[in-house]
């Protein structure tokens, strides 16, 4: 069996062991559901993210009724009417007369499927002028469920994109530094240390400030990805460098050199693949950090801006603490962040337990 095949089958063994961890698998499926929901946000949500109706400002979650006069009937909601009570507090009164049935596969706000095909199909909805807010509405009357689903797109993908770039960069720098040693190694490691020295949040702010505050959202998105990659690669690079130092002494590296393979090819094809186990775990464990970072930036108004949604900027409404009292549902985006982060942490932890023997093997000298 060639070295690469043996390595794969151990990897497969590790994956199988991971599969036995029920909690981790459960979290994995939760994440799959979240990511799929984000991908199909247009379809799943009853409204587009910027569909607002001030008449429904801070509307509480709509109650769904299954019975009418004690007879089971199609699930339906009632139209609401905004009034203010004696202490000038908002009260939404249901009007029994205006009944709207919940319909499935309705035509709603327009969107572009996969970015190309114009479509209008939504999973569920109600006829106008009724509005269904399963999770309540924000200050401008925008459906929170819809905004959370659209926000998921940003919050969930930024983690993956940012980590991916850090990963590549960290691996390359670490591999090169460990392989060449000497001055290259020294310089690169000092550079790493420098990046690790600056408190991440400060660096994030400074980097964000280096660009004009009024970029369009797509640019902001990429900017955030770049900023986080900038911060995150250093620690991975250091560890990969350590591994690279011990790996470069192995026989197959000497053999490759004898055959005349270029340094770059040796690094990428013979050294780096063996750092994969650790790097995967490191990646999984750092995604939550990116998600939290983006949320923090957006919370402060420096990230994704209105009207676009990200879980972070959805939470910024809750920052004016008083609103929480009569519209507690605006905290829900925070809950989604929490769940996502916990799932990633559980998976990362399980991966680390499973990869442990592999790590021990890779780290040892022959």
């Amino acid at each position: 069996m060639s070295k690469k095949e043996k390595h794969l089958s151990q990897f497969q063994l590790a994956m199988r062991q991971f599969g036995r961890n029920r909690l981790a698998i459960f979290c994995f499926w939760i994440l799959v559901i979240l990511y799929l929901s984000a991908a199909f946000a247009d379809f799943l949500s009853p409204y587009s993210y910027n569909n607002e109706d001030r008449n429904y400002s801070y509307c509480p979650p709509t109650k769904i009724h299954f019975f009418e006069n004690r007879k089971p009937v199609r699930p339906h909601i009632y139209g609401t009417h905004l009034t203010f009570n004696e202490i000038h507090k908002r009260v939404y009164v249901a009007e029994i007369k205006r009944r709207h049935d919940i319909k499935f596969f309705v035509k709603g706000d327009e969107y572009r499927l996969l970015g190309f095909f114009p479509a209008r199909l939504h999973l569920f909805g109600v006829d106008a002028p009724g509005r269904i807010h399963l999770l309540g509405a924000d200050s401008r009357g925008r459906d929170l469920l819809s905004r959370i689903l659209f926000g998921a797109r940003v919050s969930l993908s930024i983690g993956v994109a940012g980590v991916f770039i850090s990963f590549i960069f960290g691996l390359l720098v670490g591999g090169v530094a460990g392989y060449y040693g000497g001055t290259t190694d020294n310089i690169l490691m000092r550079l790493c240390e420098m990046f690790m020295m600056v408190p991440g949040f400060y660096l994030m702010l400074a980097l964000r400030a280096a660009f004009p505050p009024d970029l369009n959202s797509l640019q902001v998105y990429f900017l955030i990805v770049v900023i986080f990659s900038f911060i995150g690669w250093a620690s991975l690079a250091r560890v990969v460098r350590g591994m690279s130092i011990s790996l470069k002494e192995r026989e197959y590296v000497l053999a490759a050199k004898a055959v005349g393979l270029s340094d770059f090819a040796i690094i990428t094809r013979h050294i780096l693949p063996h750092t994969v186990s650790y790097s995967i775990v490191a990646m999984a464990m750092s995604i939550p950090g990116y998600i939290l970072g983006e949320s923090a930036l957006s919370l402060l108004g420096l990230g994704i801006q209105d009207p676009y949604a990200s879980w972070g900027n959805l939470l910024s409404e809750a920052m004016g603490i008083v609103y929480i009292k009569f519209a507690p549902w605006i905290l829900l985006p925070g809950l989604f962040i929490f769940v996502t982060v916990i799932c990633f942490n559980v998976i990362g932890d399980a991966l680390r337990d499973v990869m442990d023997p592999l790590l021990k093997m890779e780290g040892k000298a022959p």
């Binding site: 690790m196 020295m197 408190p199 400074a206 980097l207 280096a210 004009p212 905290l331 929490f338 982060v341």
Partner: protein, 321 residues
């Protein structure tokens, strides 16, 4: 030992230069500067603005500006803050102190809570309390700090026991010494708790792991074989060794604290280095941003240096090499 410290400091200096250069470059890539907003104001003549620019060397080539700044640094002159209209050192020193207090409080709380919890979990491995603590620390690790801050602030507004942010009550100056202390503690409570939760969770798990690892060592068996009471074996022999790996983390822990503190400072309106950094960044107050970054880097380096010294003190094997 002294040589060890000096060596560490010497290595740190180029790092600091690197940080300052990095900051400078970043801020300069920014299109525009503080005076842009002033330029829009018709009441301020172009003359005034160009006079200011000359005064702060903003019309000179970048490299020259950087060297000016470096030179002033050596005189402990951090430049002038346009936004606050006073020397940067004045703005920074007050804020530095506040951030320091907050970080110190979080550090203390974290270690005072996490170490005993970690030991407790390790000693009761596999039993109920271990499982509960494991679950709690997972939750604590994962909860977004800003989310927790918002929730706690909400409860504070309902409960009226703790203040809603800031560092001093309005009537601070009129209070007695003790009352001032209490006031400070009340304001510290929420930000400290929020910052500490994540650290406590992480540190507790590490402590537990370290204890379990140390308990497997031969010298623990030897200590038991000498008939020493169990509490001495665990709390003196094992703990003393299990703590060592944690001390190495101390420096990085400090760095995380500073970073995490910044965000919470902003949310809880704590007047520290983080919130001033945000303001400076938004206003493009060049020197203030640079000084904040530099301060952040210095605090970190100090933290790491402290960690190295502590480790040498705590582990005689390193001390005597």
């Amino acid at each position: 030992m002294l040589r060890y410290i000096i060596r560490r400091i010497l290595v740190a200096i180029p790092l600091l230069f690197g940080i300052s250069l990095l900051t400078f470059v970043l801020i300069q890539i920014t299109p525009g500067n503080f005076f842009d907003s002033l330029k829009l104001d018709p009441q301020i003549s172009a003359d005034t603005i160009s006079r200011y620019e000359k005064l702060y060397h903003l019309d000179r080539p970048l490299l020259e500006q950087y060297f000016h700044w470096l030179r002033n640094l050596l005189k402990f002159d951090f430049g002038y803050s346009f936004f606050y209209n006073c020397p940067v050192s004045q703005v920074i020193s007050g804020r530095l102190y506040n951030t320091f207090i907050l970080s110190l409080a979080s550090l203390l709380l974290t270690w005072l809570v996490a170490i005993p919890l970690g030991v407790w979990a390790a000693v009761n491995r596999g039993r109920g309390i271990d499982k509960i603590l494991s679950f709690l620390s997972f939750a604590g690790l994962s909860v977004p700090s800003f989310f927790l801050a918002i929730i706690l602030l909400y409860f504070a507004s309902e409960g009226k026991i703790l203040p809603l942010g800031g560092m001093q009550s309005i009537n601070y100056d009129g209070l007695t010494q003790t009352e001032k202390m209490v006031d400070l503690l009340r304001h510290l409570a929420i930000p400290t708790i929020v910052i500490s939760v994540g650290s406590i969770a992480a540190l507790q798990r590490i402590m537990r792991g370290s204890m379990l690892e140390t308990l497997r060592q031969q010298y623990v068996l030897a200590a038991r074989a000498r008939g020493l009471p169990e509490h001495r074996v665990v709390y003196v022999h094992t703990l003393r060794n299990a703590i060592n790996p944690l001390v190495t983390i101390f420096g990085y822990h400090f760095s995380d604290l500073l970073s995490g503190a910044a965000l919470i400072e902003i949310i809880c309106s704590w007047p520290g280095l983080g919130s001033v950094m945000l303001t400076a960044v938004r206003a493009k107050d060049l020197y203030l941003v640079m000084a904040s970054m530099l301060m952040g880097g210095i605090l970190l380096l100090l933290g790491n240096l402290l960690a190295d010294i502590l480790l040498a003190w705590v582990d005689p094997r390193i001390r005597y090499e």
